[in-house]
């Protein structure tokens, strides 16, 4: 197969970027999109041109490192699929493939297709955890978790933190990412002690990072490679309101927040 690859090139965070077009040939249908980019980069290196910078690691859809907008869609048009899992057999031989970075104010471009998703780490640091020091845990079976609750928590926990939800959202909202973590812990008995504090702090950090708000477009759910449901966002809103109300009540009672 051969393709005309239209790629976003940008030499640094403050440089002006633009599309460049390259022809690649000899692509096999079973190759992934990233392997096609590998072929292009080999070609560019041999020609003395700088290869296209992009992030990838596990190349099996679990680490969340890769993330490209392919033909206008985060991770391409295949449902529940990361960029590294996207196979070339789904593209039209001889056609043009357009590749861009995940675009959002809160994900500044580092170079070409590489973006800085550090905002996600900062949101996680603001409460995406259960405070339990190593060594202080009770026997694992001492706290029972009904099977359906464990399964639901797992559905939310499956998030790989790739940021496709942000890239797909017209508001560049991080709501799906944040809500998946809040939902996981709000369901589990282990997450109860810090439930309110977590919701308030994580949402607060999300706002501080400059992500937009959710206005129910549901583009995030469609782009999510792990099928995280938008219902997580509804849970997050309930959790936030509940936490804010409890916080107020406690302040009124003089107990501090």
């Amino acid at each position: 197969m051969k393709f005309n690859v239209k790629v976003w090139r940008q030499s640094g965070p403050n440089a002006k970027g633009g599309f460049k077009q390259y022809a690649v040939d000899g692509i096999l249908p079973e190759m992934s999109l990233l392997e096609m980019l590998d072929v292009l980069n080999e070609q560019l290196t041999k020609q003395g041109e700088e290869p296209v910078a992009f992030d990838s690691d596990c190349r099996e859809g679990i680490c969340g490192t890769c993330g490209l907008v392919v033909d206008g869609m985060a991770h391409g048009s295949r449902l529940k699929c990361t960029t590294c899992e996207l196979r070339m057999r789904h593209f039209v031989d001889g056609g043009t493939v357009t590749i861009e970075p995940f675009r959002a104010k809160s994900f500044p471009v580092i170079k070409d297709l590489v973006v800085d998703r550090g905002a996600f780490d900062r949101i996680m640091a603001a409460g995406g955890y259960v405070s339990v020091n190593a060594g202080s845990a009770p026997d694992a079976n001492a706290v029972l978790v009904p099977k359906d609750i464990a399964e639901k928590a797992m559905d939310s926990a499956a998030c790989i933190g790739c940021g496709a939800c942000v890239a797909a959202c017209p508001n560049a909202s991080a709501s799906l990412f944040v809500s998946a973590k809040i939902t996981q812990f709000s369901l589990l008995p282990q997450g109860q002690a810090e439930r309110e504090r977590r919701a308030l702090r994580m949402v607060g950090q999300m706002d501080q990072e400059g992500f937009g708000n959710c206005s129910n477009h549901a583009e995030c759910e469609a782009a999510c490679p792990k099928g995280i449901s938008i219902s997580n966002i509804a849970t997050m809103r309930r959790e936030y309101m509940r936490a804010a109300r409890l916080h107020e009540e406690r302040a009124e009672a003089g107990g501090g927040g």
Partner: protein, 646 residues
């Protein structure tokens, strides 16, 4: 020519007493750092996978000042994330006869009697605490209806002791670990340095006192000083180019420590995983693993007739050879990884393989679907089936999967003592990066266990012991020390050489060729002639690499080619050490299979008279002339015996 040290410098520091109480006694006797003093110590942790992340989080919880480095853009992407199947723990929740003793026994035997008994016993002991810890972190493990934890039996075990979270156990454990780590970042006790690659270990007065790394975004070479350095940088399977590892996995941090004096133990112990998706073409960048939990319900077979090209569905039951069930009736499809891998290779080498290349075997779920129903099978393996379907375009619900072994895990690594300290004072090595617990072969669901045991429950004790017994507080060093300047100069010198070579062949091209040599001659089966040829080929390739590599770009920028070039340069040396180790070990054990040393049935034949030792190699300044130090292994509890899974 192999040089053997006249006197081994190795002392494993195994505590006295019966094996059941060694760790308990040791914990009671080791030195402590008082709570008020902990913040005065700075500890560098390199790596944020299960071992590194757990260590950084736990040391932060204790109050140490931790600097944590990773090459990824966030700690949550470390390659532990990709482990699918599960994690072992001797909880005996299933009432099926499991115990710490049995997990210990299985691990020593599974490792083919080449692991250190005392370490393995401690690992089995700590396994139960890990599950408690992870459950408390909110890891959504699989549960029964009553709310208790579910288990499955896994890769070569006769009890159900494996805990799991669908097919994403590694991801969920890592996210639990990452959340604890981020809590410490929030508390200000851990400082994160992402997109940093460690390129040198800095020694002051013979002790590990810092690192030099490259900022992968700006290209800046940065120095960090500390009172101890913990290395948790994973394994070296990408020496084969194609492996189940992530493309950025590498041996560089460990290798640079080796070149600073840390001994590299048992480099030839590499594990080939039996259930991977077969190779499709030369442009492939990695091989994808399918969890071996698939072997619980999937049946492995090939046609009874050589070169049978009929589709699987047209081959009647009577004409199928379920070779694992036939050869190993007691364990069937659940034999350990090395045994299953070699059996598949033998079938393909002798002409029974299937698929376009003839290098794959079937893994069939037809029976399981009939017995359990499609829904139950989907429940257990749905995400794995989807993954397979997405890659190959074939549905395992409709036709058998095709699988073939691929390099997966490396049991060898930097030598450490019982305290996880290398022979360099202050340099501790955790997880896959060390050599200690798996011997010559790792059992399924044991890697996650070891990484977390090292990070959560071993190093918090043993690091304090080292620090309290050292004089590092009195001799604080800063990055102004000449040792840092010398390391930075050496790193810059190498970068200049790589960028300046301006040759014709790309880094990938060299890595691919090295990988071919390694896979063909230092892979699943090895022999003297092949190894000698490989050593010659690696030397020639290494020489060509430095002469003709084409890196391109600049050193003051984000430059993937440059990152990979440094890693491949190290693999060009480490690959030779693997071959030398494999050549010197004139026996077969676990993942190290020498064709000259096998039983009449084609199984590994150990030579306990001559090779019951850890082979730890010292850098001599020349990659072709390492010096061997031996640590003799004693088996006081599990008696040396030929492994049999029949």
């Amino acid at each position: 020519m192999i040089k053997v040290a006249e006197e081994s410098i190795l002392n494993a520091n195994i505590p006295d007493g019966p094996i059941e109480s060694k760790w308990k006694t040791h914990k009671a006797n080791i030195k402590l750092v008082s709570p008020a003093n902990k913040r005065k110590y700075t500890v560098i942790v390199v790596g944020t996978g299960l071992a590194g992340g757990a260590a950084a989080a736990s040391l932060g919880e204790l109050g140490y000042n931790v600097l944590n480095f990773c090459i990824q853009d966030t700690p949550r992407r470390a390659h532990s994330v990709a482990a699918q199947g599960g994690i072992n723990a001797a909880k005996n929740y299933q009432n099926d006869g499991d115990s710490v003793w049995r997990l210990f026994y299985d691990t020593v035997k599974g490792g083919d009697f080449r692991a250190r008994e005392a370490n393995v016993y401690r690992l089995a002991e700590l396994s139960t605490n890990i599950i408690d810890q992870c459950a408390a972190q909110g890891v959504p493990f699989a549960r029964e209806y009553g709310g208790t934890l579910a288990n499955r039996s896994f890769g070569g075990a006769q009890v159900s002791r494996t805990f799991y979270a669908r097919g994403q156990t590694g991801q969920q454990l890592l996210l639990g670990c990452y959340s604890s780590l981020m809590r410490q970042v929030d508390a200000g006790r851990v400082k994160l340095f992402t997109r940093r690659e460690m390129l040198d270990l800095v020694l002051v007065d013979g002790a590990a006192r810092g690192i030099v790394c490259r900022n992968l975004v700006t290209g800046a070479v940065e120095s960090y000083a500390a009172d101890a350095v913990l290395l948790a940088t994973g394994g070296y399977s990408t020496v084969f180019f194609l492996s189940t590892n992530a493309v950025n996995c590498n041996v560089t941090a460990a290798w640079r420590c080796h070149k600073k004096g840390a001994l590299f133990a048992n480099p030839c112990y590499t594990q080939i995983h039996p259930t991977c998706i077969p190779l499709a073409g030369e442009s492939q960048s990695k091989l994808t693993l399918m969890s071996e939990s698939l072997r619980n319900d999937g049946r492995v077979w090939v046609p009874k007739k050589k070169g049978d090209t009929r589709p699987a569905s047209e081959i009647p039951e009577g004409e199928r050879d379920y070779f694992l069930e036939r050869i190993y009736p007691a364990f069937g499809n659940l034999v350990p990884r090395d045994i299953a891998s070699r059996a598949a290779k033998r079938m393909c080498d002798t002409g029974y393989g299937v698929g376009g290349t003839g290098y794959s075997v079937y893994l069939d779920f037809g029976d399981a679907i009939q017995r359990l129903g499609r829904d139950v099978v989907r429940d257990r393996y749905g995400n794995l089936f989807d993954m397979y379907h997405e890659i190959t375009g074939e549905s395992p619900y409709e036709m058998p999967m095709r699988i073939y072994p691929a390099p997966h895990y490396t049991m060898g690594g930097l030598w450490v003592d019982y305290n996880l300290m290398s022979n360099i004072p202050g340099l501790h090595v955790l997880g896959e990066a060390n050599f200690s617990d798996h011997g010559a072969n790792r059992l399924g669901a044991s890697a996650l266990m070891q990484g977390l045991a090292d990070g959560y429950f071993v190093i918090p004790y043993t690091l304090g012991h080292y620090l309290a017994g050292s004089d590092v507080l009195k001799n604080k060093v800063t990055t102004d020390h000449p040792a840092f300047k010398a390391s930075v100069a050496a790193v810059n010198e190498q970068t200049k050489r790589l960028v300046g070579a301006r040759g014709k062949r790309t880094v990938r091209d060299f890595h691919w060729q090295l990988g071919r040599i390694m896979w063909d001659h230092v892979g699943m089966a090895r022999n003297e002639k092949g190894l000698e040829g490989a050593i010659r080929d690696i030397r020639a390739l290494r020489e060509e690499f430095w002469r003709d590599v084409n890196v391109g770009g600049s050193d003051g920028d984000f430059n993937k080619n440059l990152e990979f070039a440094g890693r491949v340069a190290d693999f060009m040396e480490q690959g030779e050490l693997m071959a030398l180790d494999a050549l010197h070990r004139k026996e077969s054990c676990g993942g190290h299979f020498r064709e000259e040393f096998q039983t009449p049935e084609g199984e590994a034949r150990r030579d306990d008279q001559n090779f019951c030792y850890v082979g730890a190699w010292q850098w001599s300044g020349n990659a072709s002339e390492p010096v061997l130090h031996k640590e003799d292994l004693e088996f006081d509890y599990v008696h040396l015996a030929q492994r049999s899974y029949k």
